[in-house]
C-alpha cells in the first residue's frame, strides 16, 4: 500500500516548511513516531515524527527545499519493492495543484534555512466579532447571545430555561421560531431574505419526468378533462379564527395552525352535506358517513394527499398532530398506501404563500376539493362601518355529475358559518 507523507502544518500560520534535513533515506524501515526529518517552519526548527509506519520508497522534496503544507514530500510503502510509479505521478500532480491553488505563494526553490520567518498571510478568521451589546441584567449564555443577535431576537422578552432561569440556546431558538420576541426593524438587522432573481444567463435544462410526475400528469389530465368541474367561491371573515388560534396556542404544548382549524370545520360541514362527502363511480355515487379528509402535502418533486380519517370525530389538537405526523412521513417517503389511498374529500391549502385565491383540480373519484388561500388584511364592512378585517377566500371545485351548484353553495355557507364562529370547532 502507498502512504503519502504530507508536509505537516505545525502552526495555524504555517503555509510552507523547509526540509532542513532528512533523517531517513529510500529503503529505510520507518516506525510510527520515528523522527523522519527536521523541518523549518515560520516559527522554529522542529523534529518531524512519522505519523505512519512503513518503508521509505522515495523522497520527493530533497533537503534544503521548501514544500507547501499538504504537498507530498515523500512516499512510503507498506511492503518493500512495491511499484510506486503511478503514486509518483499522482503525487506530483497533487503538488502542482496545491501550488496553483495558493496564488502568488509558489514556493521558492531553495530558501536558505536561516532566513527570517516568512510573513505569513493573515489567517482567515481575523478578529472574533464583538458580540452585540447586551441589555443589563439579562442572564444569557454566550452562544445564546450570538444566536439572538443573528436571528433578531430581543433577549429581554425571552424566558430562560437554563439553571435558575438563565437563557440558553434552545430558548432563543424557540422564541425565534414562535416569533414572540422579534426585535423591531430599527433595533435589529432586517432578516427578510433578499429576492434572488437577478443572475447571469445560463443554459436551459431538459428535465426527465420522474415516475411521480408521470402519475400526477396522467391522473390530473384525466380529472381536468373528464370531470365537469364547476367552482364556487366564498370570502370568510377570519378575524375570530386568527384570534382563537392565538388563544389556543397560549397553552404550553399547543401549536394549532389555521389549516388544522379548516380541516376540523370542513369535517363538520361535510357531515351536514353528505353529497359533497362522496365518490363518483360512473353508474353510482357513494356517500360517506365518515369525513376522511385528504390533505395535499407538497413533497420534493410532487405532491401527495395523506388522509386524516374520521376527522369529524377528532379534536383540533388531534387533527394537527396527525397532519404533521403524516406530512413528515410524506416528505420522508414513508407513507403506507393505506395512509394516502381513499379519502372522501380533499383540502389544498396555499395560505402559507399568502396568495389571494386559487382553484384546485378534483382528486378522483372524490367529487369535491377545497382550495384555501391566505388570510389577508383587507377593508371589510361590519355593521355598516368600514373596518380593518382579515379575509380568507376559499373555492370549492365540485363534480357536476354528483354535486349541484346549490349543494356546493350550501356546503360553503356552513363552512363559513363554522369558521366565523370558531368556538364551534372546539366542541
Amino acid at each position: 500500500m502507498i502512504i503519502e507523507q504530507l508536509m505537516p502544518s505545525k502552526s495555524p500560520t504555517m503555509t510552507e516548511g523547509t526540509i532542513v534535513a532528512w533523517r531517513i533515506k529510500p529503503g529505510d524501515k520507518v516506525k510510527v513516531g520515528d523522527v523522519i526529518a527536521e523541518l523549518q517552519t515560520d516559527k522554529s526548527v522542529t523534529e518531524w515524527e512519522s505519523p505512519d509506519g512503513g518503508i521509505c520508497a522515495e523522497i520527493i522534496i530533497p533537503a534544503g527545499d521548501v514544500a507547501l503544507v499538504n504537498q507530498v514530500v515523500a512516499i512510503f510503502t507498506t511492503k518493500a519493492g512495491e511499484d510506486i510509479k503511478e503514486a509518483l505521478t499522482k503525487a506530483k500532480a497533487k503538488n502542482q495543484k496545491i501550488a496553483a491553488s495558493i496564488s502568488g505563494a509558489a514556493p521558492s526553490v531553495a530558501t536558505p534555512v536561516a532566513t527570517a520567518p516568512i510573513a505569513a498571510p493573515a489567517p482567515v478568521a481575523a478578529k472574533p466579532s464583538a458580540p452585540a451589546a447586551l441589555p443589563k441584567g439579562v442572564r444569557i449564555s454566550p452562544v445564546a447571545a450570538k444566536v439572538a443577535a443573528a436571528l433578531g431576537v430581543d433577549v429581554r422578552q425571552v424566558k430562560g430555561s437554563g439553571p435558575d432561569g438563565r437563557i440558553v440556546r434552545r430558548d432563543v431558538e424557540a422564541a425565534a421560531k414562535s416569533g414572540s420576541a422579534k426585535i423591531g426593524v430599527a433595533a435589529g438587522k432586517p432578516t427578510k431574505p433578499k429576492l434572488k432573481v437577478l443572475r447571469p444567463d445560463g443554459a436551459g435544462a431538459d428535465v426527465a419526468m420522474s415516475p411521480m410526475r408521470q402519475i400526477i400528469g396522467k391522473r390530473l389530465l384525466e380529472a381536468k378533462t373528464q370531470i365537469p368541474h364547476f367552482y364556487v367561491s366564498e370570502s370568510i371573515d377570519a378575524g375570530a379564527l386568527v384570534a382563537m388560534r392565538e388563544q389556543i396556542n397560549v397553552l404550553e404544548g399547543m401549536n394549532v395552525t389555521i389549516n388544522d382549524l379548516i380541516v376540523r370545520a370542513s369535517a363538520l360541514a361535510l357531515r351536514a352535506h353528505p353529497k359533497v362527502n362522496a365518490t363518483f363511480h360512473g353508474n353510482s355515487i357513494k356517500q360517506y358517513d365518515s369525513a376522511d379528509i385528504s390533505v395535499a402535502v407538497a413533497i420534493p418533486d410532487g405532491l401527495i394527499t395523506p388522509i386524516v380519517t374520521k376527522a369529524h370525530a377528532k379534536s383540533v389538537k388531534q387533527i394537527g398532530e396527525e397532519v404533521r405526523a403524516l406530512a413528515k412521513k410524506a416528505v420522508e417517503g414513508k407513507l403506507q398506501p393505506a395512509e394516502f389511498q381513499g379519502g372522501s374529500f380533499t383540502i389544498s391549502n396555499l395560505g402559507m404563500f399568502g396568495i389571494s385565491e386559487f382553484v384546485a383540480i378534483i382528486n378522483p373519484p372524490q367529487v369535491a376539493i377545497l382550495a384555501v388561500a391566505g388570510i389577508k388584511d383587507e377593508a371589510v364592512v361590519k355593521h355598516g362601518q368600514l373596518v380593518a378585517g382579515k379575509v380568507m377566500r376559499v373555492t370549492l371545485s365540485a363534480d357536476h355529475r354528483a354535486v349541484d351548484g346549490a349543494d356546493a353553495a350550501a356546503f360553503l355557507k356552513t363552512l363559513r358559518e363554522l369558521l366565523e364562529a370558531p368556538a364551534t370547532l372546539l366542541v
Binding site: 495555524p12 482567515v124 440556546r169
Partner: protein, 463 residues
C-alpha cells in the same frame, strides 16, 4: 405503609450517590449491597487502577531520572507491594462510603437482593438468613459484569478479565490485551511500564475507538515508542491454552498470525448484572441489548422502579451512574433533571492520558456541523517542556456558525485534570471567545486550552 420510601440495590457510584441524594431530600432510604460498598468503581475499577497507574508512572519517572539530573540506580518494581498498595487504597475508600451512609442515615443491608414483586425485595444474607423489605420506590444499580465469548474462555489464570488482574500475585512476562478501550490501554500501560512485553489487539481501526482519531493516533504513537505492540483492525480468532502460555490466533484482513503470551486480558464488552435480582417478578423490561430499558428520568416500564448506571446501558462510566442516580431521585421527589448524554466526559488514565467531552471531529461532521477546529501542541508549552512531557495536544471543536464549543479533546500528561474547565464551558454554552479570553495562569498546562481556542479563531500566540 412501606418499610422505606426509597431502596437502592447496589452501592456503587450510582447507588450510593442516589442513596445520599434521596436521604438529603428527607426520604427514608435503604441500600442493599452484596459485596463491597463502593461497587466496582471503588473496589475493582476506577480507584484501585489509578493506584496501580501511579506506581507505573513513578517507575517511568525513575527510568528518566537522569534526564532530570537525578541518579537513581537499581530501581525495581516490587510487584506484590504495588498490588497491595492498590488494594489498601480501595479498602480505605470503601470505609469512607460506610461513613457517608451513616452520616446521611441510610440503612445499609448487606446481602443479595431479589424482587418478590414491584414493591418488595428479598435480601439473602451471608449467614443464610433472609429478610423481606418493601419500598415505594426501588432504584436498581447493580452494575455490569465483563462479557464473555465462547472463543475467549476466561479461566482467571492465563486468560483473565480486569478483576483477576487486580489480584495478580505475579507479574506476567508477556501480556496480550484484547480490546484497546480504556481498560486494555490502562493495563497495557501499567504492565508495559513495569517491564512486561505488552501487545494490544483491537478489532476497530484505532486505539480508544470512542475517542477522536487524531487523539488516538498520538496515544498509539506514544505506546509504540514505549515498546507496546499495537495491532488495530485485527480480530482474535481463538485462544489456544498451553502449559505455561497462551497462543493467541490473530487475523488481520485475512492474514493469520499467532502470538504466544503468558497472560491474556479480555477487555471487550459488558453485560448488565440482572440475573440474580428476579426482575421478571417485578415485570421490568430489558432493552434489545439486555440492559434495563429506561426513559429520560431513569424510570423503567414499572411505576416506582428505576434503573441507573451500567445496568441501564449507554456508557459505562461512574460519573454517568452518579448523575443518573441524581436524575432518578429528582424524578421521585418531583424535580426531574434528566442527564444530558452529550456532555458526559470520558477519560483514559494511561500516560499520555486522554480526556474528552462532546463530539469528535468525525462525529461532529457526521452530525451535520460545519466545524472550526483549534489545536495546540504541548510541544509549544513551556510548562510541558519543563516537566518533561511535551507529548500530546489539545483539540477543540466548535460549530462554525456561532463558535459554540461542541467537542473538547486532550491527550497529554495529566490531561484528565485539564478537562474540567471545558466541561464547564460546554455546559455554559461558551464560544471560543470566552475560553480564549479567560486568563489562564502561567506557566500551566491549562494554557494550552486557551491557546487551542485562540487557534480556532486564528489568533494563537505561542504556535
Amino acid at each position: 405503609m412501606s418499610d422505606y420510601e426509597v431502596i437502592i440495590i447496589g452501592a456503587g457510584p450510582g447507588g450510593y450517590v442516589a442513596a445520599i441524594k434521596a436521604a438529603q431530600h428527607g426520604k427514608k432510604t435503604a441500600i442493599i449491597e452484596r459485596e463491597h460498598l463502593g461497587g466496582i468503581c471503588l473496589n475493582w475499577g476506577c480507584i484501585p487502577t489509578k493506584a496501580l497507574l501511579k506506581s507505573a508512572e513513578m517507575f517511568e519517572g525513575f527510568k528518566h531520572a537522569k534526564e532530570f539530573g537525578l541518579l537513581a540506580d537499581n530501581v525495581r518494581a516490587d510487584f506484590p507491594a504495588v498490588i497491595k498498595r492498590s488494594r489498601d487504597v480501595a479498602g480505605q475508600m470503601a470505609k469512607g462510603i460506610e461513613f457517608l451512609m451513616k452520616k446521611n442515615k441510610v440503612t445499609v443491608l448487606m446481602g443479595t437482593a431479589s424482587f418478590v414483586d414491584a414493591k418488595t425485595l428479598a435480601v439473602a444474607k451471608a449467614d443464610g438468613s433472609s429478610q423481606q423489605v418493601t419500598a415505594d420506590n426501588i432504584i436498581i444499580a447493580t452494575g455490569h459484569k465483563p462479557r464473555t465469548f465462547p472463543h475467549l474462555p476466561v479461566d482467571g489464570k492465563q486468560v483473565v478479565n480486569y478483576r483477576h488482574l487486580l489480584g495478580n500475585t505475579q507479574q506476567p512476562k508477556s501480556l496480550l490485551c484484547i480490546g484497546a478501550g480504556a481498560i486494555g490501554m490502562e493495563f497495557g500501560y501499567f504492565f508495559s511500564s513495569l517491564g512486561t512485553k505488552v501487545t494490544v489487539v483491537e478489532v476497530l481501526d484505532q486505539v480508544l475507538p470512542v475517542e477522536d482519531h487524531e487523539i488516538a493516533k498520538v496515544v498509539e504513537r506514544e505506546f509504540t515508542k514505549k515498546g507496546v505492540t499495537i495491532k488495530t483492525g485485527t480480530k482474535v480468532v481463538k485462544l489456544e491454552q498451553k502449559a505455561d502460555s497462551v497462543a493467541v490466533h490473530l487475523d488481520k484482513d485475512g492474514k493469520a498470525e499467532i502470538i504466544e503470551v503468558e497472560q491474556v486480558l479480555v477487555a471487550v464488552g459488558f453485560l448488565a448484572n440482572t440475573e440474580s435480582i428476579a426482575l421478571e417478578k417485578a415485570g421490568v423490561k430489558l432493552d434489545e441489548r439486555g440492559f434495563i430499558a429506561v426513559d429520560a428520568n431513569q424510570a423503567t416500564n414499572i411505576a416506582g422502579v428505576y434503573a441507573i448506571g451500567d445496568v441501564a446501558g449507554k456508557q459505562l462510566l461512574a460519573h454517568k451512574a452518579s448523575f443518573e442516580g441524581e436524575a432518578a431521585v429528582g424524578h421521585i421527589v418531583g424535580h426531574a433533571q434528566p442527564v444530558d448524554y452529550a456532555q458526559i466526559p470520558g477519560c483514559t488514565y494511561c500516560q499520555p492520558q486522554v480526556a474528552s467531552v462532546g463530539l469528535s471531529e468525525k462525529k461532529a461532521i457526521a452530525a451535520g456541523h460545519k466545524v472550526k477546529i483549534g489545536r495546540f501542541q504541548f510541544m509549544a508549552s513551556g510548562k510541558a517542556k519543563a516537566i518533561g512531557h511535551p507529548e500530546g495536544m489539545v483539540k477543540l471543536i466548535f460549530d462554525a456558525e456561532f463558535d459554540q464549543l461542541i467537542g473538547a479533546h486532550i491527550v497529554g500528561y495529566d490531561a484528565t485534570e485539564l478537562l474540567g474547565e471545558l466541561s464547564l464551558a460546554m455546559k455554559l454554552e461558551s464560544t471560543a471567545k470566552e475560553i480564549m479570553e479567560t486568563i489562564h495562569a502561567h506557566p500551566t498546562l491549562s494554557e494550552a486550552v486557551m491557546e487551542a481556542a485562540a487557534d480556532a479563531l486564528g489568533v494563537c500566540v505561542h504556535q
